[in-house]
Amino acid sequence: MTAMPELDDDDLLHGVRTYWEAADPVPTDMVARLQTAAALAASDTDLDMELMLLVERTEELAGTRGASTSAYTLRFAHDGVDLLLRISSDGASPRIDGWVVPPSPITVLVLRDTETLTTLEVGDTGRFELPDLTSGMLRLRFEPADGSTPFMTPAFEI
């Protein structure tokens, strides 16, 4: 038997955490499910904002060039309004092409953490573009020009 360094309680508890994180890990997607559930519950208590729900996510197959320019589409819905976002990349930076259906004049705020990255006005076409973004979590807030209740997407990663 070689001499064992004495393990203190913190070492042992660190080991216990390591063990359980590997032996019984948090189920896949559980965090994402709970983020949505919590955000939805929070939106019920915020009377000035309503949350859109992610209803569909579609991956587009990468092009024949085999480049890492795969794109995907997210569809959010709330109270008769659909929002389609196509997330792709312009070279190095991600971009979003969005459509609000049915189209109506609306202000879009692009939020990251506590910051508003961009504000833009969407006209009668319901279309908007957000080029030159940086990767990370984003969330979009929509303020209809007719003064009806604003709505917001859950955070999503680009």
């Binding site: 064992m4 360094p5 004495e6 393990l7 203190d8 309680d9 913190d10 070492d11 042992l12 508890l13 660190h14 080991g15 216990v16 955490r17 390591t18 063990y19 359980w20 994180e21 590997a22 032996a23 019984d24 948090v26 189920p27 559980m30 965090v31 499910r33 709970l34 983020q35 559930a37 919590a38 955000a39 519950a41 929070a42 208590t45 915020d46 904002m49 939020l111 990251r112 953490d113 506590t114 979590m137 969330r139 917001m152 859950p154 955070a155």
Partner: protein
């Protein structure tokens, strides 16, 4: 104390002993995170949670996502210590988050949010466990010691992937010790009075039982050859 607040985190001493069994890809990294798991100390997790809660309370809706991301793993491990099946454990964690959203105005001190969440999760887990006839075993530690052949499916995966002294040692602990240490390990400054109530143990015995379970784990790690006895 070997460490002071603010020191860089050091790899536990035993990691140096068992890291030799790891794949070379892990060996090339400093053996700070055993088995590649991103094990954070509860104090750090609680700090991140407090910061996210503070920003969320100030109107940053995205910070709620961060709070859920940071604390959900802790809540998962605390709740699973009550032997609830995965689906029920997830429900308990979800109930905990919905309670937080409803009660956020009552949490005045952001630093308290971690403890509020784990306490709420334990209380809910205990309630559900009791209602469904489950719960943390109360048998004597020695009698409840798990035999090697009783390893669960997930434990088998662990053994195959990484048959370290530590893991075999944790598996040899009684279920009661496993549960108690699992809760204590993920908690930051555990509330012994509350844990004692949940485990049907006298408050005064939690400290000594925790100490005994840690001592047993220490002995098992130092005695790796007994792993299959």
């Amino acid at each position: 104390m070997r460490r002071c607040a603010g020191d860089m985190y050091q790899a536990p001493a035993w990691s140096l002993l068992i890291v030799v069994t790891f794949p070379s890809t892990v060996l090339s990294e400093a053996p700070v995170t055993i088995g590649g798991a991103a094990t954070e100390r509860p104090g750090d997790v609680w700090g991140e949670a407090a910061s996210a809660f503070e920003r969320w309370s100030a109107g940053d809706a995205v910070a709620l996502d961060e709070l859920v991301r940071v604390m959900t793993p802790v809540l998962w491990h605390v709740v699973r210590a009550y032997r609830l099946p995965p689906e029920i454990a997830e429900d308990v964690v979800q109930t905990t988050w919905l309670s937080l959203v409803r009660s956020r105005a009552s949490i005045h001190e952001p630093a308290a949010v971690g403890g509020w969440l784990t306490t709420t999760a334990r209380r809910e887990a205990w309630k559900v466990a009791k209602a469904t006839g489950r719960g943390i075993p109360v048998e004597d530690e020695e009698l409840a010691r798990r035999l090697p052949d009783e390893g669960s499916a997930e434990a088998e995966v662990v053994r195959r992937d990484d048959d370290s002294q530590l893991w075999s040692a944790v598996q040899q602990l009684s279920e009661r010790c496993q549960a108690l240490l699992r809760i204590v390990a993920f908690e930051h400054r555990p509330d012994y009075a509350r844990i004692a109530a949940d485990l049907d143990m006298p408050v005064g015995s939690i400290g000594p039982t925790r100490g005994r379970c840690l001592q047993k784990l220490r002995a098992l790690i130092g005695n790796g050859d007994d792993g299959d006895a």
